[in-house]
């Protein structure tokens, strides 16, 4: 098929100015496509990756260190839009040396259900549930102190002594969790143990939850659900304050629907215009070449090869412009990210964008080439040659 390329190419060069103008509009359209796509991807990934957007945190309105009654658990669970609730208490403490302050929390059995970003093998999770004094450490914490599964780990309490008066809580390491997302690496440094064990052994602070964590079915309902949860304790001695765990992410997510719609309609309008414009170019290009196409047929080119030649011409025009446009978009996105990365969320133009962009060039190319190509295919040689 390569042998037909000079033929297709020469058709495009026939009216250079017109081809260049058309090419520029194709380039502009796909540059815009690349840029908008990158913005939309950024929003979409914010919504996809941050499980935090679907989590609310309920704490005491008074202060973070004031605990909340366990009775709230069932009430919160019955608020419409809440799909799961868990709770945790702050424990703190240090390992061996007071300098080695730890992030340690006593957590409810379903805690890990609400934090899918903490990846814990199922067997280790079962061991955690089955081991009263069991604990789970983040991979980077375990690495820091060379902890292995099965190790007995003595932690010195800073706030919560045991009922026995001892300050030393000894946990059995039953699991190590990982966090894949590089942006969340900091979360790998915590130690979790069973809330029930804490509740039974602690000298004070038992029977309460430090805070509640809710998973909501729809991120865009975050505000309403938070409001209803806080309404449960209104005018009581334990008023609460419920917020999205990552308010920023939540804002992103609620805007995503709008952004997607806006980006979609802009691209729709751009491509609609592009189709009219290139369609007109192709129609004109074929109309003035009817005698030439008739000659090809005279020589013995089949109707189908004439159809293919015209389609190849319009696909080549679109693919060329599309590739240049996407390449420019890739360069532009990198430049924008380098200078204004904080203000304008954008993801680099990736394989996915290239593939869908190039697929689009082919689809549009076939679309705008179809009518002129059909005309070329159907032309009757005798009439075309005599100019009828």
């Amino acid at each position: 098929m390569v042998k037909y390329l000079p033929l297709v190419w020469s058709a495009l060069l026939r009216r250079k100015t017109r081809t260049v103008f058309t090419l520029v509009s194709v380039i502009a359209a796909f540059l815009l496509f690349g840029l908008l796509n990158s913005v939309r991807d950024a929003f979409a990934s914010a919504g996809r990756n941050v499980a935090a957007a679907t989590r609310l945190i309920t704490i005491s309105k008074e202060s973070f260190v004031v605990s909340l009654p366990k009775s709230l658990l069932l009430q919160i669970r019955s608020v419409p839009g809440v799909s799961a609730v868990t709770y945790a208490n702050w424990f703190g403490g240090y390992y061996q040396h007071p300098q080695n302050q730890l992030v340690t929390e006593a957590v409810a059995p379903n805690y890990f259900d609400l934090y899918p970003e903490f990846q814990l093998p199922a067997a280790q999770l079962r061991a955690f549930h089955a081991t009263r004094a069991g604990a789970v450490a983040g991979a980077s914490l375990a690495e820091r102190f060379h902890w292995r599964i099965g190790d007995e780990i003595p932690i010195e309490a800073t706030i919560f002594p045991q009922k026995s008066g001892s300050n030393t809580w000894t946990f059995t390491l039953v699991g190590i969790y990982h966090v894949d997302d590089p942006r969340l690496q900091g979360e790998e440094g915590a130690l979790f143990f069973n809330w029930d064990y804490f509740d039974q052994a602690t000298a004070f602070g038992g029977g309460t939850a430090g805070w509640y964590i809710e998973r909501i079915a729809h991120p865009q309902e975050a505000y309403r659900v938070a409001h209803e949860i806080d309404a449960l304790s209104l005018n009581s001695d334990h008023e609460t304050k419920t917020e999205s765990e990552d308010a920023f992410a939540a804002a992103f997510v609620s805007q995503f629907a709008d952004i997607g719609l806006i980006v979609g309609s802009i691209m729709g309008a751009v491509f609609f215009t592009l189709i009219l414009l290139t369609g007109n170019t192709m129609a004109q290009a074929v109309r003035e070449r009817i005698p030439e196409l008739a000659i090809l047929k005279t020589i013995g080119f089949s109707s189908r090869s004439v159809l293919a030649l015209v389609l190849a011409e319009s696909v080549l025009l679109l693919a060329l412009g599309g590739a240049i446009g996407l390449a420019l978009a890739a360069v532009a996105v990198n430049a924008i990210r380098a200078r204004l990365g904080a203000q304008i969320p954008m993801l680099p133009v990736g394989t996915q964008a290239w593939l869908s962009g190039l697929a689009l060039t082919i689809i549009i190319g076939l679309l705008v080439g179809a009518l002129p190509a059909r005309r070329g295919m159907r032309l009757r040689i005798v009439e075309a040659l005599s100019g009828r």
């Binding site: 005279t298 109707s303 040659l385």
Partner: protein, 233 residues
């Protein structure tokens, strides 16, 4: 051996809306292998129509048309296209070269339909150009050539795939005397030295003199050769 072209009772009717135009009426004609036939006749007498039928560009309304033993009046569109590619070369009054392609590329066009590799295609095109005396113009585009040269490029394109039959519709109609003579001499050479059978439409008696035979068409009917051979000038 029978004639190369055997035409029996051939009629062509064009319908335009309700109007029926019978352009050819029951034409009978044999063209021997190796002939150089000139078709003459007044404008509108059906010369182009007959030539297009012989070249397989159009199909008759009635009658049979055999070329090289093959009934081409029965072929469908795509079969005709394939048949033309290997059996007929066309030359038109206005050259009909592709303006964006060089002379060599224009001549190479029919070979794109063959399985020849690129190097061979280029070689064949060069030989054809050489044969019409334009080897030194291979890289020129049609716009950079004179009318006579363009017509010779068109002839090179017509013979590049070595067809037995050449059909030429007023090949000198747009040329000055000098170029016309060059083109006609070239056709004569192709007929005499390369055995090409040529059917040429012309209304120029001087052009017809280069042919071996002359036939006259009048209102869609072939006129007796004897009576037509009477020189009108």
């Amino acid at each position: 051996m029978g004639p190369l072209v055997e035409i029996r009772n051939l009629s062509k009717v064009y319908t335009r809306g309700r109007e029926r135009i019978e352009v050819l009426h029951h034409v009978n004609l044999d063209i021997a292998q190796g002939d150089f036939l000139a078709l003459m006749g007044p404008s509108g007498s059906g010369k182009t129509t007959l030539l297009n039928l012989i070249g397989g560009l159009d199909s008759p309304t009635e009658g049979t048309l055999e070329v090289g033993g093959q009934r081409i009046d029965r072929l469908g569109q795509s079969e005709l296209a394939r048949w033309r590619a290997s059996h007929v070369g066309f030359v038109f009054q206005f050259y009909n070269l592709l303006p964006m392609l060089s002379a060599a590329r224009n001549v190479e066009l029919p070979l794109l339909l063959t399985k020849l590799p690129a190097a061979k295609r280029r070689r064949h095109a060069a030989i054809a150009l050489e044969l019409v005396g334009l080897a030194d113009r291979a890289a020129h585009k049609p716009g950079e050539l004179s009318g006579g040269q363009q017509q010779r490029v068109a002839i090179a394109r017509a013979i590049v795939s070595d067809p037995t039959l050449l059909v030429c519709d007023e090949p000198t109609g747009d040329l000055d005397r000098q170029s016309a003579v060059e083109v006609l001499t070239l056709l004569q050479n192709l007929n005499r030295d390369h055995g090409k059978t040529i059917v040429m439409v012309t209304h120029d008696p001087k052009a017809a003199e280069h042919a071996r035979h002359v036939l006259h068409l009048d209102k869609g009917t072939l006129v007796e050769a004897a009576q037509a051979a009477e020189p009108a000038w």
